[in-house]
């Protein structure tokens, strides 16, 4: 199941581990990505904490953790090939994996249909 935040992050949860990235809409808005910083493995994040950084030719953006938990894996290849975020935001362009502390936090996020409607309301 994939959930979406109002900050345009997606989180795909499987067996209590969530993979986090930014949505295609966010990647499109950012434009050419030139710099990425991913969190260190072992870092504990509260929901809403600054988790990662993505910078395009236009601006710097923070990636907030959509849930609380511990970072169990980071996409270490991303900082060397930041353009992956734009090329495949909801695939190879993932940022980090987090062990969810409280799965009920997912209830605050949107499903795909709700996120699509949310994005539509922004244009």
């Amino acid at each position: 199941m994939i959930y979406y935040s109002e900050d345009h992050e997606w989180i795909e949860v499987e067996d209590g581990i969530g993979t986090v990235g930014i949505t295609a809409y966010a990647a499109e808005q950012l434009g050419d990505v030139v710099f990425v910083e991913v969190p260190e493995v072992g870092k504990t994040l509260a929901k809403g904490d600054d988790a990662a950084v993505v910078e395009s030719v236009k601006a710097a953006s923070e990636i907030y953790s959509p849930v609380s938990g511990e970072v169990v894996e980071s996409n270490d290849s991303l900082p060397d090939v930041p353009e992956t975020v734009g090329d495949d935001p909801q695939g190879d362009g993932w940022f980090f994996r987090i062990k969810l502390e409280d799965e009920s936090e997912l209830e605050d996020l949107m499903d795909e249909a709700a996120y699509k409607a949310f994005v539509k309301g922004l244009d």
Partner: protein, 369 residues
């Protein structure tokens, strides 16, 4: 951000931008293209490799007439304007009594008048400033029925020679009245990208047709404000309001080259005493190029540290596509201004090593004949 109550002005090319799929953003009161579907990176690289067309019609254009408009305008700017030959262009700044910069501008001697181009965000203030300070000495005529297009890049000369052969012989920082497909235009061989190119003042009702004609040339692609910014940053050129403003003098801003030799001793412009003192004794701070060592871009307002204390601040910065890494400029205390000086940037609370570097970051390629 866009104030919903604000009515944005449109340039003569607005419909063309929309047709080309541009992403439009509010800029200095105008609805302007920040990028086209190609995106900032490709637009930047295309300008460096071939030629890019920019709509800069939001900028202010004016004529200054009178018995001696150059002498009159010299009372407001530090450039040597009276020595400008007809057809020559100069870069200068309006200064205030503290030697701060009110705006930067281009001045061209058109023989019987001066042609002036100022920044969009400052144009109303600039025109009011000139009208009030030059009253009785010169007459300001605001040009509000002409678009301004820039064509920039190593192929710009070839493209314009094809469309208007008389433009081929123009050299950097000169102007000429030319005809492009029968339309009388005023062209200057100058720009804001570090590349060869032209800025062309065109009657509004002919602007779209000539823009399409230029875009029909195989070397030319439309370029938005995003790439305009990364191009000028790599070229080491100032953005007014970021890199220079009312609190920075031309000496601090590294613009001493634009102050006329005669003007350095004679003065006669606002803040001339401050500028003369800084020229003699040195300025407390200087605008320099900054090259972060890592990949992280350092944006405007990033603090610059050395020896554990703040010695300055980044004024513009980002990713330089041609450089292939982050580039920035900012102010540092003068003792740290030498190229090669190591400094520390505070990026998102973390220390990042960087170095003071000579600008431009990318070799300027102007056509000097």
């Amino acid at each position: 951000m866009n104030d919903p109550g604000e009515t944005l002005k449109k340039t003569a090319l607005f419909d063309l931008h929309v047709e080309l799929g541009a992403k439009m953003v509010p800029f200095a009161g105008y609805d302007m293209p920040v990028q086209y579907p190609a995106g900032v990176l490709k637009e930047h690289n295309h300008t460096r490799d071939a030629a890019g067309l920019f709509d800069v019609s939001h900028m202010g254009q004016a004529r200054l007439t009178g018995d001696n408009p150059a002498a009159a305008l010299e009372t407001l700017v530090p450039a040597e304007l009276q020595a400008l030959e007809p057809g020559q262009q100069r870069y200068t700044q309006f200064t205030n009594e503290q030697g701060g910069i009110l705006d930067d501008l281009m001045v061209t001697n058109m023989g019987d008048h001066l042609f002036i181009v100022v920044n969009a965000a400052c144009k109303d203030a600039d025109f009011a400033h000139m009208k009030s300070k030059l009253a009785g000495k010169a007459e300001l005529e605001i040009i509000d029925d002409r678009a301004l297009l820039a064509i920039q890049g190593p192929k710009a000369g070839e493209v314009m020679a094809r469309l208007s052969p008389e433009m081929a012989k123009m050299t950097f920082m000169t102007a000429a009245e030319v005809r492009i497909d029968g339309v009388a235009c005023l062209a200057t061989r100058s720009g804001y990208s570090g590349e060869d190119g032209f800025e062309i003042s065109i009657p509004d009702d002919q602007a779209e047709r000539l823009a399409r004609l230029m875009l029909d040339q195989p070397e030319v692609e439309p370029i938005g404000l995003g790439a305009r910014d990364s191009l000028r940053l790599e070229a080491g050129l100032c953005l007014y309001g970021s890199d220079i403003d009312e609190t920075t003098t031309p000496v601090e801003g590294g613009l001493v080259w634009s102050i006329g030799k005669r003007r350095r001793t004679e003065g006669g412009y606002p803040g001339a005493d401050v500028v003369a003192r800084q020229l003699a004794e040195g300025a407390p701070r200087k605008r320099v190029g900054i090259r972060p060592e890592g990949r992280a871009p350092a944006r405007a307002h990033t603090e610059i540290h050395s020896g554990g204390r703040k010695i300055g601040e980044i004024t513009s910065g980002g990713f330089g596509p041609t450089v292939g890494g982050p580039v920035a400029m900012g102010y540092v205390e003068t003792e740290f201004a030498k190229a090669g000086t190591p400094v520390t940037l505070i990026v998102r609370g973390k220390e990042a090593p960087a170095q003071v570097e000579k600008m431009p970051f990318v070799q300027q390629r102007y056509y000097r004949g």
